[in-house]
């Protein structure tokens, strides 16, 4: 793999798509760059090519998909940006969170459990709605911390909060499935 590693394989996610490394990314620019690149490297373009080209195509497309997935998701995008700026975020080990935030999270989880027990789809809907609003508020703050204030420590705290909300989000998904 190293023998054939090209520029695209080693560049960071933003460079790969020719985008400026900012949190407030223009989603349309990302989408169109992604599609234009896929149109060139996707395995469907090489279904009749030789093994070497099919392997390269698989590798490059995998890389492009990974970069797109990362940049598309606000949480992953923020983590990638912080890594690029050399911030050691240690998200997995540093779990210290403000007490009021944790209390709020516990309350939300209790409501979720109650909604599941009562098979109450309306409560799930309202939990999801509140969560979506909370997430978009955090994302806005993240954008300001990273792009405007260069406050990376603050941004790392916001990313951790977002991770909590994402986990709650997937728990709500599971709750919906359980009620189906």
């Amino acid at each position: 793999m190293n023998a054939v590693a090209g520029k695209a394989l080693t560049s960071n996610h933003f460079e790969l798509f020719g985008l400026e490394p900012v949190f407030a990314l223009n989603a349309d620019s990302l989408d169109s760059a992604y599609r234009d690149i896929q149109a060139k490297v996707h395995p469907d373009r090489f279904a009749h090519a030789g093994d070497a080209e099919r392997r390269a195509s698989l590798q490059w497309t995998t890389r492009v998909n990974e970069a797109y997935r990362t940049l598309k998701d606000p949480l992953q995008r923020a983590r990638h940006l912080l890594e690029l700026r050399g911030v050691d975020v240690a998200f997995e080990t540093n779990t210290a969170m403000p007490a009021d935030f944790l209390v709020q999270q516990m309350a939300l989880r209790e409501s979720l459990e109650e909604a599941v027990e009562a098979k109450d789809v309306a409560s799930l809907d309202s939990l999801r709605k509140g969560l979506v609003e909370e997430k978009s508020k955090l994302e806005k703050q993240l954008g300001e911390s990273i792009d405007a204030k260069n406050d990376y420590a603050g941004a790392a705290g916001l990313v951790r909060k977002l991770m909590f909300l994402d986990r709650l989000d997937s728990e709500i998904d599971l709750a919906y499935e359980a009620l189906d």
């Binding site: 023998a3 054939v4 590693a5 090209g6 520029k7 695209a8 394989l9 790969l16 798509f17 020719g18 985008l19 400026e20 223009n26 620019s29 760059a33 599609r35 234009d36 690149i37 896929q38 149109a39 060139k40 490297v41 996707h42 395995p43 469907d44 279904a47 009749h48 090519a49 030789g50 093994d51 070497a52 080209e53 392997r55 390269a56 195509s57 698989l58 590798q59 490059w60 497309t61 995998t62 492009v64 998909n65 990974e66 797109y68 997935r69 998904d173 919906y176 499935e177 189906d180």
Partner: protein, 620 residues
Amino acid sequence: MVLLQISEPGASPAPHEHRLAVGIDLGTTNSLVATVRSGAATVLPDAHGRPLLPSIVRFLPDGRAEVGYAAQARQADDPKNTIVSVKRYMGRGIKDVTHIENAPYDFIDAPGMLQVRTAAGVKSPVEVSAEILKVLRERAELSLQGGLSGAVVTVPAYFDDAQRQATKDAARLAGLNVLRLLNEPTAAAIAYGLENASEGVYAVYDLGGGTFDLSILKLARGVFEVVATSGDSMLGGDDFDQRVFCWSVEQAKLAPLSPRDMRLLLVKAREAKEFLTFHSEANITAKLSSGELVDVTLDTETFCRITQTLVHKTLGPVRKALRDAGLTVDGIKGVVMVGGATRMPQIQRAVGEFFRRDPLNNLDPDKVVALGAAMQANVLAGNRPQGEDWLLLDVIPLSLGIETMGGLVEKIIPRNTTIPAARGQEFTTFKDGQSAMSFHVVQGERELVSDCRSLARFELKGIPPMVAGAARVRVSFQVDADGLLSVAAKEATTGAEASVTVKPSYGIADADIERMLRDSFEHAREDVHARALAEQRVEARRLLEATRSALQADGHLLSVEERSVIESAAQSLEKLLESTDHRAIKRAADALNRATEQFAGRRMDEGIRRALAGRKIGSL
């Protein structure tokens, strides 16, 4: 094909030859083959003009197999040797199949995939499916008057890795070059999207004979993007037959039935179901082997009542896919109906009510998948000029993960990830001096290993002695464009590397495929060597042509020396084309592949550069 000619600058390329490529819908109930002729996709009928091939295979004591209508005609007389709905058994063990007690076969619970004892010997579902595919291949070759360059074979979107691997193995066994495994709903969207030239978000509701799929697709500017997919690989039109069958047994107060009577009554149940699409009641009459006469009448209302739970069961996956896509029904521009079972009025009604709009059903639901597959095969074969083709971005339907302590699943690649995809995860040892680690690869959404499908187990040996927790074992998952997984593990702390690559255990080992191929050729009195030689020559020509066009398009990316290395490898291969030593051809082809590796990488970079040319950083 003369490679030297094109390496001269300015020489015009050989006119592009049209490659014969087909799309195959390998269905639970019926299978079809289609191709694109003069720009239009068309289903290829058999010699009697019939487009469908019933997916039924009957094995005879002399080793031969009857496929399609001939087998169907005999299924009530010879139920034990006449395999229907084999798709339900692909990549499945006995315990995975619902209502297996109602199937009249002599099953053997082999590891990985069940098998059936027939008059022609023990057969795996892969071999049974290969018989169907062989008939379709021969039909296409006869009708198109030439060997096929490749085929796109469709699978339900909700098929897991084992089922996909089994399908690909069956196609290989039938002598097909598989260009791609394509998800059925995506194939249907290709057929619909292009004929109706629609942009927007669509739902594809695909209720086939044995499987249910719901996919959400985004169509925009020549890109088909699958946003989410869900379904039930054990729910289909057959289950409606089953309900009618059970209802009839109850109504007629029948004693347990013989396999023959069971098959007979199931056929009658299916006919009644189909009849009720256009009539308000259907008679089910049959004369059993005991001489007992069954004569019951099923009306629409009763039919709806006894199948209500099945209809309802399809709506769970619909809601799940919408949630995964982050959409509500208001965001859906249209609902495409696929699969013969969607003809049932109660299905049309339930879908219409759920999405609050009339479903799209203007294409024949039995043919739409094969037509879309043919269109995709035509693109993959390179028969459409660039700019007039389209791009398909598909996803994996089920999460892939690894077993961790306590029987829990660590998800490595979540469902609905766009493929191809790769993801890695680091694991470590939990005992001092531990020299091996075993891994269990699973697929599914549940947290417990026991609730997921087991795909493969493998062991990484040769880990150097270290204290617990010091080893760094990286497990990498790679899913290719067919949705097939390979897994590798590597220990990286001490530089002493060990790695292993596994293919899921539900697939069939290459050696088995070879053995089966040999068996089938012995039977057909074909020469294995001649076949291998023909295949290597086709492969070599394909490679030479690809190399030629790559050099022509991007030759400037190479230095003079680099180019001459590739050209001499190409010449060596070309000289061997007329040789009768298929192994020598293979070696030369491998050498050419190795010689073009770096070139291939540079071409990808160049492609990306060109795609982004004209965009300015910061102009956004």
